[in-house]
């Protein structure tokens, strides 16, 4: 029973990481229906930017955090302006390929600058925000990240539901041409959605970095785990991403604990294929009925 609980807690925390990582992905998909294969590398960029600012330049933690968010917001704008803008109206296949290319580019660049080593942030979270449930201690990192992501979730939920920009984003995702003809500034929406997504990525990347250290390879692997997570949760659903992340994380650690450790890494993808065959729109995804 202890082993089970231990695995459960571990699984929940891993799953929480996946859920965080999936947030930015869902953001981009929701607003521009682009599958972003460069997602893991955007996470890594955020994590490394924070590393440079907080650990190497010794800027105070909070200022460094906001500087990173601003930096990634700008980066998102630049990515959209330089790479995605010329492709508005092109076939989807080209856009997907472009993000594959971007992923290779960013990863190579990060490896070139930082190498494949593992870095760690200095500790800055106060110990007294840790929570005890029964005799299980939850580390302050998880508490802090939980609080941050709940705040972000609420903000984005409201943003998409009520703000005009959020509604524009959803309309563009639904049908670019129709949105354009109704007077939505599609280019601005794209730019904004990439900027916001990069910002969310930076936040998730920093939290990932705090929890498991900063390493290009491991973060970009988490970036790929996002796919099973969002497919399980449903591509358009932020809540689905959270639940999908937690389910995948728990299943992964249970497989690791009870069946075999080597199977652990591949279990999310097996689940992915299974879901795609049985319920392709996931738990909370928008079901588009189109029989082809």
């Amino acid at each position: 029973m202890d082993f089970f609980l231990q695995l459960l807690i571990q699984g929940l925390s891993v799953g929480f990481l996946y859920a965080l990582a999936a947030l930015g992905f869902v953001m981009i998909f929701k607003s521009s229906s682009v599958l972003n294969f460069a997602h893991g590398d955007l996470l890594a960029i955020g994590a490394f930017l924070f590393l440079v600012l907080a650990a190497w330049a010794k800027i105070p933690f909070l200022i460094a955090f906001f500087l990173t968010l601003i930096g990634c917001f700008v980066l998102g704008f630049i990515i959209e302006r330089l790479f995605l803008r010329p492709l508005i109206g092109e076939a989807l296949i080209m856009v997907i390929m472009l993000t594959v290319g971007l992923a290779a580019m960013f990863k190579g660049l990060l490896l070139f600058i930082f190498g494949g080593n593992l870095f760690a942030y200095p500790t800055f979270l106060p110990e007294d925000i840790s929570v005890r449930i029964g005799n299980i201690n939850i580390a302050p990192v998880y508490v802090a990240s939980f609080v941050i992501s709940i705040i972000f979730l609420l903000l984005f939920g409201l943003f998409f539901k009520y703000s005009s920009q959020g509604i524009y984003m959803r309309s563009v995702a639904d049908n670019q041409t129709a949105a354009l003809s109704l007077g939505v500034h599609v280019r601005r929406v794209f730019a904004l959605s990439w900027a916001i997504a990069a910002l969310v990525c930076a936040m998730s990347g920093i939290i990932l970095g705090i929890i498991s250290g900063v390493n290009v390879h491991s973060i970009s692997i988490i970036g790929l785990k996002v796919f099973p997570v969002v497919i399980l949760g449903g591509l358009e659903s932020i809540g689905g991403a959270i639940i999908g992340g937690i389910i995948i994380g728990v299943l992964e650690t249970f497989t690791g604990g009870y069946i075999s450790t080597s199977l652990r890494e591949v279990v999310p993808y097996i689940i992915l294929v299974f879901i795609l065959l049985v319920k392709p729109y996931g738990l909370f995804g928008l079901v588009e009925i189109e029989r082809v």
Binding site: L92, G101, A103, G108, L109, F112, F227, L276
Partner: protein, 356 residues
Amino acid sequence: MKKLRLHPCGNYKERYDEELTIFETDFGRVSMLIGLVILFVVIPWISSSYLLYVINHIGIFAIAAVGLNLLIGFTGQISLGHGAFFGVGGYTAAILSTKLGFPFPLSLLSAGIMTAAVGLVFGLPSARLKHLYLTIATLAGQFIIQFIFVQWESLTGGLQGIILSRASLFGLSLKSDFAFFYIVFISLVVMLWIAKNLLRTRYGRAFVAIRDNDRAAEGMGIPIFHYKLLAFAISSFYAGFAGALWTHYLASITPDPFTLFLSVEFIAMIIIGGLGSLTGSVFGAIFITSLNEILSLASEYFMNLPALAGVALTIAPLREFIFGLAIVLFIIFEPRGLAEVWRIIRASFRLWPFSY
């Protein structure tokens, strides 16, 4: 003797099958013959052994790239698992020829067929899924297959891999790069010929119809699912065949090369070469393989200069960066790839002095 048609000065087509001919003029036929003669008679004799090694790699990757182009460029189904399929072919050939003693040509063919079967399995989701979801399914396929390579130790030898004895054909040993050159390029020419002709049949036209508009294709009575699966199978056959050739050429196989990065490399080849163009796939294979070789030569060169040994180590990740950059630049500036550049060059020669 039939009079050679070299340069028609207008469009004189009267029947539909004239539109379908591969060579519009005898000029194309003659230049292809000249090209084949140069390829098979001149190149192997003047190239050094290292150059032949690179050229053989180009040929092998070109076969796989042609397969991927049939899937992505002609049928419009994105696959991120081509690297793994390449590996499936390699492993099948290795296992069949070491454990069951299959002769070389038979092991190539059965590797292709085996990979086609595996490709079919990962194409099955295309029954219900369209491009986005299908891409993710093939991504999962990539990881699952990679996992099997490493974990099924009794069959694949795990991380150690399998060492093959040198291939032989009709009692002749294929040890040298020179001998293998002929195997690779005869296969490439045959595979290109098959692909070119496949695309002129109803199957090829159905593929293109699915790519251009799947709903309309369905409305025209094309059973989409069958054709998508067929495209997957054919493309995997090419990948498996190429993988088997590669394994026989290197005479060993380990799970290391068949990562997602290899799949990305194949995608880079067909994007840079030109989606929906068979010659483009060959151009792309030439471009990417040469780029790879140049980068590894550069890092070797820097490694030998003591002052710059540090630079050499940093070049390795730059390889990935340059690949990504090449994909991105081609998508933005020349989405139709090197094949289009080649067409423009040819057209400007033909129209000279009035080229524009």
